[in-house]
């Protein structure tokens, strides 16, 4: 066992060294340089820990299980850094630059002060690695405008981990209050609630869903109707809007919530347009919510989250969408408007806007 573990630790040290050679500490883009500096620091720490493990291996057998578990943890972290950030950053190219420029410009518009690097390397959809300030998106995202509002959802996660929590006490109190209320309804009015539902409800909302919903609200406040359209566009590609799981609240409830936030922002006309398309979609597809849908998606919890996020935006002095602003946010909203009103000229208009944008912005 010891020779194998010793070999594995040495192989991991060599891997860490290779990873460091893949990154350019003098990268011409300052934002990338900052990320590289953070990653180097992490990799350097891993290197030191691995060297220490080799020393521990010389100890008695009683220490071996701890050495093995430490090796496991470090190995997972190293492979994870490689896959999620070092690999994508080492292949930094024009598409990444365009996306990062656009995101930084949009962040500045709404007064977000922490800028992520955006890389066109995701095999899935949009993803953020909050620790490294890296968002990955699919390969062609820099060539279109329609999905870009979703960047703001990821910026919500980034802010939540780096700046301040975008939801907090009010949300947690509302979850508890809802459960108390339903318990009473169950007793007094024999509301049909299965025994597991309250426990599952508290678990999913506290551990998983609240942050997702908060990031939807965050994006809606900052991007406005474009986020609603982008979300509906995303739902078109899902099997059913009413499906939900331990990790995801139902898309239908998220869409309804985005509409509520738009109305809260007094953007009644665009909210109505999106709502009308959304209702037509549901009607056409004929989807029906499962029996537990209503219990798991109470409006009061969504509202509490929206209030928490609104406070957090106000505290951070971020600029909410008001329909009048120029710049990236306006372009994203115009894109959705033109797509629906002037499809024939849309592609040409979109390419032109992206090209103009590249000329006028640099990082």
């Amino acid at each position: 066992m010891i020779p194998l573990l010793e070999g594995a630790i040495n192989a991991l040290i060599i891997r860490v060294n290779h990873l460091m050679t893949l990154l350019n500490p003098d990268h011409p883009v300052s934002l990338v340089r900052e990320r590289v500096r953070d990653i180097f620091k992490d990799l350097h720490n891993q290197h030191t820990s691995l060297k220490q493990l080799l020393v521990e291996l010389e100890g008695p057998e009683t220490l071996l299980s701890n050495v093995l578990r430490l090796y496991n943890a470090i190995a997972r972290e190293v492979y994870e850094i490689e896959a999620s950030v070092v690999g994508p950053l080492s292949r930094w190219g024009e598409e990444d630059k365009k996306l990062t420029v656009l995101t930084v410009t949009a962040c500045k518009e709404v007064k977000i002060k922490e800028f992520p690097v955006v890389l066109a390397t995701s095999e899935m959809y949009y993803r953020i690695f909050p620790k490294y300030g890296v968002i990955t998106v699919p390969a062609t995202e820099s060539r279109g405008l329609l999905n870009l509002p979703d960047l703001f959802h990821e910026l919500g996660h980034y802010g939540h981990y780096h700046r301040q929590k975008i939801f907090s006490n009010r949300t947690l109190v509302s979850i508890r209050a809802y459960l108390d209320k339903t318990e009473q309804e169950q007793q007094r009015l024999a509301r049909p609630i299965k025994p597991d539902w309250p426990k599952d409800f508290e678990y999913v909302w506290t551990n998983r869903w609240a942050e997702e919903i908060a990031c939807d609200v965050f994006a809606t406040f900052l991007v406005g109707p474009a986020y609603g359209w982008a979300n509906l566009h995303l739902i078109l590609r899902q099997p059913t809007p009413f499906g939900f799981s331990i990790t995801h609240p139902a898309d239908a409830a998220r869409m309804d919530n985005i509409l509520r936030v738009l109305k809260r922002m007094e953007l009644h006309e665009p909210a109505q347009e999106i709502e009308s398309a959304w209702n037509k979609f549901k009607q056409t597809q004929g989807y029906q919510p499962p029996i537990e849908y209503t219990f798991f998606h109470p409006e009061e919890v969504f509202t509490a989250i929206a209030e928490d996020v609104e406070d957090s935006i106000e505290e951070a002095k971020l600029h909410c969408y008001d329909g009048n602003r120029s710049g990236v946010i306006q372009i994203l909203n115009e894109a959705w408007s033109r797509l629906r009103s002037n499809l024939a000229n849309y592609i040409e208009w979109e390419s032109q806007r992206i090209e103009n944008f590249e000329i006028s912005n640099r990082i």
Binding site: S65, N66, R69, L70, A73, R76, Y125, D150, N207
Partner: protein, 136 residues
């Protein structure tokens, strides 16, 4: 638009705790077993503090209230291995916390076994989250 950010954060938290606990256990085991090189007093103090922090964190997060994602499953896992109820395990964590806080000499074989079982549970949880990260 996924749960990826939350999942990634959980992976970092669990893996970070696993590293901290095992590093501290290496120091504690050397100190208790007089294994050369015996860590100096400062390193022993740091290790004690790390272990106390982790025990306190687990106790706090598994207190009554909502079932927490990975902390809850760690308590379940330790209880299963020790054939105890979750409440009994919490009692043992509490006793271990008190003894660790006193001096390494007060930490017995039972405590070390419990701490190693926590280490294993954290390692398994980190591995499960890692699998979820790479194969969502």
């Amino acid at each position: 638009m996924s749960q990826f950010a939350r999942l990634h954060q959980e992976f970092e938290d669990v893996t970070g705790l696993s590293k901290r606990l095992n590093q501290a256990l290496l120091i504690l085991k050397r100190a208790i077993g007089h294994i050369e090189p015996i860590p100096d007093a400062r390193r022993q103090e740091d290790a004690k503090k790390d272990i106390s922090d982790i025990l306190r964190f687990l106790l706090e997060k598994t207190e009554s209230g909502p079932r927490r994602s990975w902390t809850g499953s760690i308590l379940d896992e330790i209880s299963k291995v020790r054939r105890r109820s979750n409440e009994e395990t919490r009692g043992e964590l509490q006793t271990c916390l008190i003894r660790t806080g006193e001096s390494p000499n007060q930490v017995g074989a039972d405590d070390l076994q419990l701490l190693d079982q926590i280490g294993t549970a954290l390692d398994q949880s980190s591995a499960a989250l890692y699998r979820e990260l790479i194969h969502p």
